[in-house]
Symmetry: C2
Subunit: 321 residues, 2 copies
């Protein structure tokens, strides 16, 4: 048995890899088999993370496993899907039992937290990278797409923004700060929590949704384009954490919240009539703007003046070094 076959057996033995509801056949055959109930559709998303591009060449494998799956699963939450399963394609330059054990533990921690089961994958030799494909189910016709935003809808997000971008100087060991701030920001970077509960609650209510990966303004641009509308973001309503404000100060914090990327919070548009019900249910719904006729995205101040920054959008990890 080759070392890569050993790895496959290692993952196949993980608690999250056993058959169960919706998973008729897991790891070990030519294909996995998923059962999708009548009246449900299967939501699918694929993400690749490359060492040195999407995460540091040298990083804690536990944290990498946890983050990789959290990032991928966030796409399911953004569609309003319930979590079901995932596959892992892992490419490794060499086999280190210690590295693999920690990576699998991180992956498994996120998988169990989310309710996702590993059903298959592939392990190959090469430069370190991961491709995760995640699967969820959503009642037919209820998926949250990017294309339904209408003038009059509110623009909302699922929580404070910018923490992951705020964590980057800590991830890269470029700066230090007090322990509680460090902990708060690093947790948001290394352990993004897919907003499944929120996404599911938004079925039949939100008119459009996505998860913020490239930065609020850039991702709002995707909703604006797909829906054929204009999104106005109110600068003074952008939610930010105390940790980010302490670490970055108000101006840099706002910049991180608007353009930093890696938030993996949901951004969505909502007919105003649904707002009270969602907030009463204790869901994290932060109103920070509205949908109007037109196209594109604008940042406005309290007087409604356009204060859109000239640069916006995602900074590749590599570009930040």
């Amino acid at each position: 048995m080759g070392e890569f076959e050993l790895i496959r057996n290692y993952f196949a033995a993980a608690p999250c890899a056993q058959p169960g509801e919706g998973v008729a056949l897991g790891i070990g055959d030519d294909c996995a088999l998923l059962s999708v109930a009548a009246g449900e559709q299967l939501a699918i998303s694929t993400d690749t993370l490359v060492a040195g591009v999407h995460f540091p060449d040298v990083c804690d494998p536990f944290l990498l496993g946890q983050r990789a799956l959290g990032v991928s699963a966030s796409d399911l939450a953004a569609m309003g899907a319930s979590p079901l399963a995932f596959t892992l394609a892992l490419t490794l330059p060499q086999v280190s039992a210690e590295w693999l054990e920690a990576f699998a533990r991180g992956l498994n921690t996120m998988a169990q937290g989310c309710g996702l089961r590993l059903v298959g994958g592939d392990t190959t030799r090469g430069p370190l990278s991961l491709t995760l494909t995640v699967f969820g189910t959503v009642p037919t016709g209820k998926a949250l797409t990017r294309s339904g935003a209408r003038p009059g809808d509110l623009l909302c997000v699922g929580g404070p923004l910018g923490d992951a971008a705020g964590a980057l100087p800590l991830v890269l060991n470029q700066r230090t700060t007090e322990a509680s701030t460090t902990q708060a920001l690093l947790t948001r970077y290394w352990s993004p929590q897919p907003q499944f509960e929120l996404g599911i609650a938004l079925r039949g209510k939100a008119s459009a949704a996505l998860d913020i990966s490239d930065g609020l303004l850039a991702d709002c641009g995707h909703i604006a384009t797909s829906s054929g509308v204009r999104l106005l973001v109110e600068r003074d309503q952008v939610p930010m954490s105390d940790a980010l404000l302490r670490f970055f100060g108000p101006d840099a914090a706002l910049n991180a919240a608007l353009s930093g990327g890696d938030d993996y919070r949901l951004a969505f548009t909502l007919p105003p009539s649904w707002l009270a019900e969602l907030q009463a249910a204790g869901l994290p719904v932060f109103v920070l703007g509205r949908v109007v006729e037109g196209h594109g995205v604008a940042l406005i101040d309290a007087l409604g003046q356009d204060v859109t920054p000239s640069t916006r959008g995602y900074q590749h990890f590599q570009e930040t070094r």
Copy 2:
């Protein structure tokens, strides 16, 4: 718009990327959405191909696209699944419009030939590799697994073996031969045809099945282990093409057929009562052995003597150089 976003749009415009039966939402949102009919299960397989490991660093991108999807789709055929869709995660060191155009054409040629539609993916910068995740549907309970082989069953394959291994010296420009042989072998290497028709015909008939990727003897070992049986392969019944026999001679040809890998033909076990019906239907069913009690795989001669070679199994592309 970044160059990688341009690529995504390029793939999104491919004919194979449009919604259609079973594909409710294709490329462009957080997730694709697949519809699975009542009474059907979804079969899923993921494969990664890394440059320099699974294919030459320098190779024709059209052929690479065609081969990559054919290899992945073969896992669906081996489960008896009908083809539905696939995702592509493409990691590229740099963007070359010419390379991408040819790669997408190759991918699309195989996709249309197979009836698979591109529904999503990811494009990232890094060392060249591809991860393809393929989706098919199979009636609930009818999937062909590796675990049902029973003593008394016939061992069969879906066609001549060893051609892809025979093509390697041509792929690597180590040898030359006459044009018709070159053409026949290279076609089997660069354009493996998933045996969907055969796999679907075997539903409810074959007791176990897989596709041969690591070599006949090694892959028969997977059926033997999963089913808890012993497989006997009759040396004189192994089907081989005229092209392979001409190029390699009988001994090396047999070795390629037994251990060469990359065949992507189905190997399956079959209760004898089904044989006549399948052959009468014109399906490629070559009987080359049988299932007995015990464990492991043995090669036997016409007298029933064990002539199993001491080495067997897959040679990584890299290891053959």
